[in-house]
Amino acid sequence: MSESRQEALIEKILHDAKKEADETIERSRKTAQGVLDEKREEAKKKAEGESESLVKASEGQARSIVESSIANSRIRMNWVILSEKEKIIERVFGEVKKKLREFTRTNEYDKILESLIEEGAVAAGGGELQVHLNSYDCQRNLALDQLSDNVEKATGVRTMLRKATDPANTIGGALIKSKDGKVAVDNSLEAVIESRRKDLEPKISTLLFTKTD
């Protein structure tokens, strides 16, 4: 074998080996890149799936925040309006009490006071009863004997109505108590208003809040 052929053979051996080595490295580089791409895709797919759920959940949360805020605000608004109506209705009751107080200074009131005493005494079941009036009404000449007879007729119990010595702290009307204090009927004007409050409130509301113009 000539020297030049030897050199060529050796050159070929080394060249082939280098080529194979380069190809091996290139293959592994491609494999490595493939692994990286695959992992990146895998992470992307997993994260995007989870992200979609996360965003959907937050959209749901957002809707709930807005809806509950609106609902709460409406409840608060209704409460504010209702509370304002109650305040105004209370003012009307205040005005009514003022009118009743003025009315108790008139002679027309006597008849009403007597009717309140009689009604209270009947409710108390008759008997020996104390009539508690406010200090102004205590000065009135009331037909207590006649009222006692009326109560006796209504209840069938011998009845004796007497003005109590201690005055009642009311704007008018009467508190009827048995002598032993076991039976007490509040027929003061305040109690009359309170007993009719539930019926009166809707009427007052209609009168107050219905636009007339």
Partner: protein, 110 residues
């Protein structure tokens, strides 16, 4: 002479084998490093996408809170208008209402 030629060829083959062995070693190293790098890329990609999603989700909730506040303010303003109207209407009718209730209480007892 022949021996010398064969020796040269054997040397060349040995060197070629060494080159290949080195290449294989390097290839394994590349793949091993790639496998570690792949885990890092996975974590990084996953974390980055999730971070963006969390930011988007936070933004959605933040916007909803702002919208909710705006809606609440509108309703409060509406309530204030309603209350003002109520007061105005009621103010005109209070005396009339009191008079009617007074009459009703009196007539009820009369």
């Amino acid at each position: 002479m022949v021996d010398r030629v064969l020796a040269k060829i054997r040397d060349a083959e040995k060197k070629a084998e060494e080159n290949l062995a080195e290449a294989l070693k390097q290839a394994k190293k590349i793949e091993r490093e790639a496998s570690i790098e792949a885990m890092r890329v996975y974590d990084e990609t996953y974390a980055e996408i999730k971070k963006r999603a969390r930011e988007k989700a936070d933004e959605i909730v933040k916007k909803a809170k702002a919208d909710a506040e705006t809606e609440a303010q509108k309703i409060i303003a509406q309530a204030e208008v309603e209350v003002k109207k109520l007061r105005e209407t009621a103010e005109r009718n209070i005396a009339k209402a009191a008079e009617q209730v007074f009459k009703e209480i009196i007539s009820f007892r009369g």
